[in-house]
């Protein structure tokens, strides 16, 4: 069976056929991705899954990585943070060094392709050396509130591309080139999202010391203010006075002072209440996160800071209703009152959890609707269709 054929059982009916037919129209074309690294989740995980499939479909797909010294990485990180709206000090010398290092990357990398997709900030200035083919900048973050200085530096570079791609229309900044909209996706056959057998589930939950003996409320996400894990604890406490439930907060702690303080507060709450479980997991704990999401009764994504985190889509794919904070990324994923609820406060989250626990027949109904919504809108197969449509449209 071809790689794409393996997705026939999980993608919407007819999707794999359309992927194959679109791919046939651009067979033999050269499709190059350039990013700052191959590791981690998010866009890198999507590329790790998508590239072998596209290659198998007859599209000559490659992935190049830019690199440099410590100062280069530091400037690229600071530039991206400033483009995401954070205050950073960007010096002319630092930016000039970043450009110089990317000129070295140009000499080192093979950038010859019919369609070149440049991901995020680190490789963006490679466009200065573009020769043939169509070049597109793929921005995976919200740059609508970019710091003026950072945007002034980036904009002339982005306008040398043929087009840009953003995850949501409101994440785009004003540009002189077309801005396409492509939402991120999850790979349903990866360890994080594939079906798990009962024994595998039990083993994963046992390894985390999470007993599935009462309804689980789950939030997966970093222990940072943007994910409001303390707000989730407070919502749980309101619910707990009426329902015997367990709260699991699974995620990673950032190194900054604020995150460490949040983690300390969560641990203190867990010490006082055995039904609060705080799990600090490594970034590659895919099977464990999969098992937690499948074991949960209700999943929370109480984000208060903008960003297209795929937590709701991941949980919906596992048939769970999702209660999410009112960010644009969550609103794009959660169909309010159909696949879950969008809430704007701790009290709103508690109210919706209680509502679902008191009307339990709605949990599987919403979960089933969520799975179908995720199947249509957030699987890798939809992402492949977007890539192929882009190739047909821009590099036929």
């Amino acid at each position: 069976m071809s790689r794409i054929g393996e997705y026939s059982q999980v993608a919407p009916p007819g999707t794999v056929d359309i992927v194959e037919r679109l791919a046939a129209r651009v067979r033999g074309r050269r499709f190059l991705h350039v990013s700052g690294g191959r590791l981690g989740g998010g866009s890198a995980a999507t590329l790790r899954a998508a590239i072998p499939i596209l290659d198998d479909l007859g599209i000559d797909t490659r992935w190049e990585i830019t690199g440099g010294d410590v100062a280069y990485y530091a400037t690229a990180r600071a530039l991206q943070a400033a483009l995401e709206g954070g205050e950073r000090v960007l010096t002319e010398a630092g930016l000039e060094h970043y450009l110089a290092m990317n000129r070295v990357n140009v000499r080192r990398l093979d950038l010859d392709a019919d369609l070149v997709l440049v991901h995020d900030v680190q490789p963006v200035s490679l466009v200065e050396a573009r020769a043939g083919g169509r070049w597109i900048w793929r921005c995976h973050f919200d740059c609508s509130g970019a710091q003026h200085g950072a945007w002034s530096f980036l904009r002339p570079l982005v306008e040398r591309f043929d087009a840009a791609i953003f995850s949501l229309p409101q994440y785009a900044h004003r540009l002189g080139v077309p801005a396409y909209v492509v939402a991120p996706s999850i790979d349903p056959l990866s360890d994080k999202h594939r079906d798990l057998g009962p024994r595998e589930m039990q083993a994963a939950l046992a390894s985390l010391r999470v007993a599935p003996d009462k309804p689980l409320l789950l939030q997966v996400g970093p222990f940072t203010p943007g994910y409001d894990p303390l707000g989730v604890v407070n919502a749980y406490r309101i619910v707990k006075t009426h329902h015997d439930v367990r709260l699991v907060l699974a995620g990673t702690a950032e190194g900054d002072h604020e995150s460490r303080e949040i983690l300390a507060n969560l641990r203190e709450a867990a010490q006082q209440d055995p039904d609060i479980v705080v799990l600090e997991l490594p970034a590659d704990a895919y099977v464990q996160i999969n098992a937690l999401q499948r074991a949960a009764a209700i999943v929370l994504q109480k984000s208060v800071q903008e960003g297209f985190d795929l937590g709701p889509a991941e949980a919906m794919w596992k048939g769970k209703p999702v209660i999410g904070g009112a960010t644009a990324g969550n609103a794009q994923q959660i169909l309010h009152d159909v696949t879950g609820y969008i809430v704007r406060s701790v009290e709103g989250a508690a109210f919706r959890i209680r509502h679902l626990l008191n009307n339990r027949e709605q949990i599987p109904r919403m979960g089933a609707a969520g799975r179908e919504h995720a199947r249509r809108a957030f699987l890798l197969t939809r992402h492949l269709l977007d890539y192929l449509a882009l190739m047909v449209h821009l590099a036929p």
Binding site: P12, P13, G14, T15, D17, I18, R21, L22, S144, G145, F166, L168, P169, Q170, A172, R174, L175, P178, A179, Y180, V181, V182, E306, T327, A328, L335, H336, D337, V338, A369, E372, H373, R376, A377, L385, D386, L388, A389, L390, V392, H393
Partner: protein, 221 residues
């Protein structure tokens, strides 16, 4: 069984979305932007709603109504916009004029309006529809029925919705083929009258199949 030498070729589609530099943060800005937005964007936010909300019967019927009700918290405007049936307008200019008239009438009675933050604004988009021939064709009503029951739902959208509203093929591709190529004017008229508003592409497929099945039964098939 009547056969035609002009087969119906089923074509699916993939929608490539494009963000426009056209935004509204309150009702009055929505009115101004509705007047100036490209016709393709009006199409995207009304007819296109049905392609993007395939599995569910939608609560609002178009993006403008949903935004007014959910983000602006202006349920009256939301309801007034939701009731606009985009399929009732033979041309997009007429649909635009209807939307503009509704918002114009509504803002006249408004006092101060609340401006939303950028992230919750209405951000106009349009789409490029990439057509994908599905390798399925029909020369008889039976073949048409069998193909219709299995093709990707995007083909229903392209032949029933996009053909009517964006490409000016009045009754849609299915009705036109049934009438002109297969000589089935009564069935064509029924297919042309199918109401695609506030339903899902799968339900439209179901109604099409019901109509075709009834004719096949009459034919003794």
């Amino acid at each position: 069984m009547r056969a035609t030498t002009h087969p119906f070729v089923f074509t699916g589609c993939v929608e490539l979305r494009e963000a426009l530099d056209v935004h509204a943060l309150d009702e009055r800005e929505l009115l101004d932007r509705l007047r100036e937005a490209p016709a393709d964007s009006i199409f995207f936010h009304t007819h296109g709603y049905f392609l993007r909300h395939r599995p569910f019967t939608t609560a609002w019927g178009n993006d403008f109504a949903r935004w007014a009700a959910v983000e602006l918290r202006d349920p009256v405007l939301g309801e007034r916009l939701a009731v606009v049936d985009p399929f009732a307008f033979p041309a997009l200019d007429g649909l635009r004029e209807e939307l503009v008239t509704i918002v114009d009438r509504h803002v006249r009675d408004l006092g101060a309006v609340v401006r939303l933050p950028w992230g919750r604004g209405f951000h106009f988009q349009q789409s490029h529809v990439v057509e994908v021939p599905l390798g399925v064709q029909a020369t008889t009503l039976r073949e048409f029925r069998d193909a219709l029951s299995t093709v990707d739902a995007s083909a229903i959208y392209l032949h029933m919705v996009d053909a009517r509203a964006r490409r000016g093929r009045g009754a849609g591709d299915f009705a036109e083929w049934l009438r002109a190529a297969l000589g089935r004017p009564a069935l064509a008229e029924q297919v042309g009258r199918i109401d695609a508003y506030l339903t899902t592409l799968e339900r439209v497929r179901g109604r099409l199949l019901d109509l075709v099945d009834a004719v096949l039964e009459e034919d003794g098939e």
